[in-house]
């Protein structure tokens, strides 16, 4: 294992997050089985006291879980010079077979952590722990992913050896290689642009409708979930090309480098934040009938929709701005 400060930070933090999430998930099983707000039993009162503490601690850990996705990518990017053939994070992630599965799980746990934080925030706004079961159920679902991610990440870091010749992004995201990435890279740009802008438009319209009229929460949540993979595919297919100004360079990671003004970080942050908050609108919808949340929940959902829309708009404006005001033209190649 390389004793890089970021690797050590990721290693230690994921260990702590996994242990805390596991503990909280076990506690969640007790909550699901024995929680009874009408009871004044010793167990119930102990559960009420402890859930406050556990939720607060888990909340802080999961905020770091969100940050750790970016730290992981930044780390992979910053150590790429140690591997022969690597030009960006792609090279580091392909040094062994655990890089991409770790990244995939990091994205999944980002979503789950974000949704849990939304549930926890909303639960804390109600006087009778209205979402406590849903909150801990989600934590029980998230715990295996968090642990698996920690194990994979640890294995990935432990198996990093500098003498391995790895692949550069040009090879992986080229139109001639095989795999999903290359298929997306090889997809014709105009249909991909139509799919991307169509998806953004429909999601934006659904979000605006919810924000203005309070209707269509499930639709907006679903479309937010759909717009994430579509946007990632668009990044690989054509968005990144406008930033690189190269018709054959489809890497979604080089955009994170200094050469391109680190513009990838705000783009991915906007995309992920917009998706999580959009999904959160749909996630909260079934709880609108809870008495203690009746007055609070519409406001929370409206704020989430506003954040999601804002992220979506800024993301679209940045990429469109680049596409319109650069001298590079993709069509014709």
């Amino acid at each position: 294992m390389m004793l890089h400060p970021s690797i050590l930070a990721l290693f230690c933090s994921s260990l702590l997050i996994s242990l805390m999430t596991l503990y909280a998930a076990c506690y969640g099983i007790l909550i699901l089985r024995r929680w009874d707000i009408t009871s004044g039993s010793e167990l119930q009162l102990a559960l009420e006291r402890r859930t406050y503490l556990i939720s607060t601690i888990v909340g802080y850990f999961l905020v770091f879980q969100l940050v750790s996705l970016f730290l992981f990518i930044q780390t992979a990017d910053s150590i790429c010079h140690l591997f022969v053939g690597a030009m960006c994070a792609v090279g580091t992630l392909t040094v062994n077979g655990f890089g991409y599965p770790t990244l995939l799980l990091k994205v999944i746990t980002f979503m789950l952590a974000g949704l849990w934080l939304i549930l926890n925030h909303t639960d804390n706004r109600g006087y009778d722990y209205p979402l406590i079961r849903a909150k801990y159920l989600l934590l029980i679902v998230a715990a295996p992913f968090v642990v698996a991610e920690s194990v994979l990440q640890a294995t990935f870091f432990l198996k990093l050896t500098p003498d391995i010749i790895t692949s550069c992004c040009g090879a992986l995201f080229s139109q001639t290689s095989r795999g999903i990435a290359s298929e997306i890279a090889a997809a014709p740009s105009i249909p991909m642009k139509i799919a991307f802008y169509g998806c953004i438009l429909v999601t934006g319209a659904a979000g605006a409708r919810f924000w203005l009229r309070g209707r269509g929460a499930y639709l907006f949540g679903t479309l937010s979930g759909v717009s994430f993979p579509v946007s990632i595919a668009a990044m690989v297919s054509f968005i990144s090309l406008y930033f690189y100004q190269m018709p054959s360079h489809h890497c979604p990671f080089c955009i994170l480098q200094q050469e391109y003004g680190y513009v990838g970080y705000p783009l991915y942050a906007l995309l992920l934040s917009g998706t999580v908050t959009g999904l959160g609108v749909g996630l909260l919808q079934p709880f609108r009938s809870k008495t203690s949340l009746k007055e609070v929940l519409p406001g929370v959902q409206r704020k989430l929709a506003a954040v999601s829309l804002l992220c979506l708009i800024i993301f679209t404006v940045i990429v469109t701005w680049r596409m319109v005001f650069t001298s590079f033209s993709l069509e014709g190649y």
Partner: protein, 228 residues
């Protein structure tokens, strides 16, 4: 109505020093009345006051304030109930040393966000009500026992609470000051304030102020009766 249902409070549970301060207490206290909890030291009076005033949570049982169950409330809601409903007068007064009487009276209202000038005017008026207007800027360590207690009462009233809770309020007062305290409480009672006192001082529980006396011993209620 403030109702306690099967309340127990165990300190240091599971340790050798485990102590049961309250054991299965059930009690109904009517609003706009004065209730005195009477009993020797260690009978559980202070613990019961703390639980009813939302200052601590029971080990078992529930407490209802006007039919609203308050023991399960998350801390942020409990703080709001405590701030808006209860005013506390502690046995040792618990005034903050180093700041003036006026600042002590204003302190519990700071989190409400009330405009400072309005709050200051209310606090001064409250001190004037207890003839302490001239002592408003005096540091609390310079006050006599009677003055300190009146400042403590003024502080308890600053958020216009519906319920005043006082724990052994006459423990450090001579007979004259104890009667003065009873007089102040009688004024508050006449204004409709609910008063809950814990005391083993006959001046308090034998006074006309008390509508109801609840007798406690060893963490249990052993008798409760209305006074004629």
């Amino acid at each position: 109505m403030i109702s306690a249902r099967d309340i127990s409070k165990v300190f240091n549970a599971g340790r050798p020093s485990e102590f049961t301060a309250l054991n299965g207490v059930s009690l109904d206290l009517r609003l706009h009345e004065t209730t005195v909890l009477k009993g020797p030291s260690g009978s559980g009076k202070t613990t019961l006051l703390a639980l009813m005033g939302c200052m601590s949570r029971p080990s078992t049982g529930r407490i209802f304030l006007k039919d609203r169950e308050i023991t399960s409330l998350p801390e942020r809601f409990l703080t709001e109930v405590r701030r808006s409903t209860f005013g506390f007068v502690f046995q040792q007064f618990n005034l903050i040393k180093g700041i003036s009487a006026l600042e002590n009276v204003m302190a519990p209202a700071y989190p409400t966000g009330e405009k400072f000038s309005l709050l200051r005017a209310r606090a001064l008026a409250s001190l004037e009500m207890f003839n302490l207007g001239k002592r408003a800027d005096a540091k609390v360590e310079w006050l006599s026992g009677g003055e300190a207690q009146r400042v403590a009462i003024a502080r308890a009233l600053i958020n216009n609470p519906a319920v005043i809770i006082a724990d052994e309020p006459t423990a450090h007062l001579d007979t004259r000051l104890a009667h003065e305290f009873i007089g102040i409480m009688a004024q508050l009672k006449a204004r409709g304030t609910t008063i809950i006192l814990a005391s083993h001082d006959p001046i308090v529980y034998d006074s006309d102020l008390a509508d109801r006396v609840v007798e406690m011993r060893d963490g249990q209620v052993i008798g409760a009766g209305n006074r004629a």
